[in-house]
Amino acid sequence: MSEKNSYEAGLSSDAVRQPRRVVFITRKVSAKVKEETGPQLMSFPHVILREAIAFQILTIVLVGLALFWDAPLEQLANPLLTPNPAKAPWYFLGLQELLHYFPPLVAGVLLPTLVVLALVVIPYFDVNIEGEPLWAHRGRRQLLIYGGIFAALFVLLALYDAWTVLVPTAVMGALGLVPYFHPASDSRFQKFLGSRPLPWWVMTWFIVVALTLTAVGTFFRGPGWSWVWPWR
C-alpha cells in the first residue's frame, strides 16, 4: 500500500533560481471594440417586459393585416402548362432578374455562393476596428486601385448588357468619389458620405443593387420576361 504523497503549497524557497510568475501571457487575442460599460439593468423585469410588449404589438399588427390581406391561391398545379410569366417568390426575383443577363451557372450558382461566402468572411477580414473613412488619406494610388476595380466591373457588366446592375453601380461609384473631390464641404450629406468607411460602401452598394434587381424583377418584368412599365 503506498502512502499518499504529502505536499505543501507555498513560494519556492529558492526565489532566485525559480522565477516567480509575474504576468500570464495567453494566446494572441484579437483587438476588439471597447464597449462602454454604462449603467446596467436587471433583465427581469426590464428586458422581459419590453420584449413582451414588442411581441404583443407585433401580434396585433400581424393579426390586423391577416384579417384583410388574403394570401393568393392560383389554379391547381399543372405540369403541362407554364404560366407566363413564371416568377419566383419575391426574395428570389432579384436572382431571377440576374439570370436574365448571365448564364445559369454564374447567376444561379456562382454569384449566390460568392455572396454567402463574402457575408461569412466579413468579420474575419482585416477589420476596420477604428472605423476609418474610405478616403482618410486621399491617396492617388488608392484612387487608381478603386477606380481600376470599378472600371473593370463596369466593362464586365456592359459586356453582358446587365443594365439593372450597371446603373446602381454607376450611381454608387459616383457617390463614392464625391468625398474625394470635395473633402471640405459644408453639406451635411457630403460630410456624412465622407465619414463612411470602405465596408460601408461595399455593403451599401450590394444592398442598392439587390433592391434594384428585386424591384425590376417584381414590377418591370412581364410575359417572356420582357420589359413592361408597371403603370400600363
Binding site: 403541362l80 407554364t82 407566363n84 410569366p85 413564371a86 439570370l99 436574365h100 445559369p104 417572356g224 420576361w225
Partner: protein, 164 residues
C-alpha cells in the same frame, strides 16, 4: 509498486507511438468509419430505387396522323412531333434553360419559351434567349405494327430523322 517513478508526460525525444496515442487513433478511425458509413447509408436510403413517374416510352399513333410540314404538340408527354418533307423527329418541349414548357408559334415558325424569352427553330436549334443548349431530339422509331414509338430517355442526334 515500481522501483523508480517513471517520468510523467509523453516521450518527446523519440517518435515512438504511445499506447494512448495508438488507442486514440484506433478509436478515432473507427468513429470516422462509422460516421461515414452512417452518412452513406442515409443518402442511399433517401435515394429512391423505384419511381412512380409517368412512363417515358410511349406510342404516338401512326405517321399518317401527322400532316407534312406540321408541328404537333403532345401535351401529356411534353413532346413535339415534327414532320417535314425530309422526314419526322420527336423534339422535347421542355426549355433547356430552366425547365419551363415551351409553346409552338406557327405564325412565326418558332418554338418560344414564356419564362425568359428563349426561341428555338423546329429543329431544336436556339435562335434567341438564354437557353444554353438546343432542344434535345428523342428517339422516334416505327414499330412492326406501323405505330410511332418515342423513348424520352434516348436522346439522339439532330441528324437522325425518321424517313416516312
Amino acid at each position: 509498486m515500481s522501483d523508480e517513478p517513471k517520468a510523467p508526460g509523453k516521450p518527446e525525444e523519440n517518435n515512438a507511438v504511445t499506447r494512448r496515442d495508438f488507442f486514440n487513433e484506433i478509436a478515432g478511425g473507427a468513429l470516422a468509419i462509422a460516421g461515414l458509413g452512417a452518412a452513406v447509408v442515409t443518402v442511399k436510403y433517401a435515394s429512391p430505387n423505384v419511381l412512380f413517374e409517368p412512363p417515358t416510352t410511349f406510342r404516338a399513333g401512326s405517321p399518317d396522323d401527322y400532316p407534312v410540314n406540321s408541328v404537333t404538340y403532345l401535351q401529356d408527354q411534353q413532346v413535339y412531333i415534327v414532320r417535314t418533307d425530309k422526314g419526322m423527329w420527336a423534339l422535347s418541349a421542355v426549355c433547356t434553360h430552366l425547365g419551363c414548357i415551351t409553346q409552338w408559334k406557327p405564325e412565326s415558325d418558332q418554338i418560344a419559351c414564356p419564362c425568359h424569352g428563349s426561341k428555338f427553330q423546329k429543329t431544336g436549334t436556339v435562335l434567341a434567349g438564354p437557353a444554353p443548349r438546343p432542344l434535345p431530339h428523342f428517339s422516334l422509331l416505327l414499330s412492326e405494327d406501323g405505330s410511332l414509338v418515342v423513348d424520352k430517355l434516348e436522346i439522339v442526334k439532330e441528324t437522325e430523322i425518321l424517313k416516312v
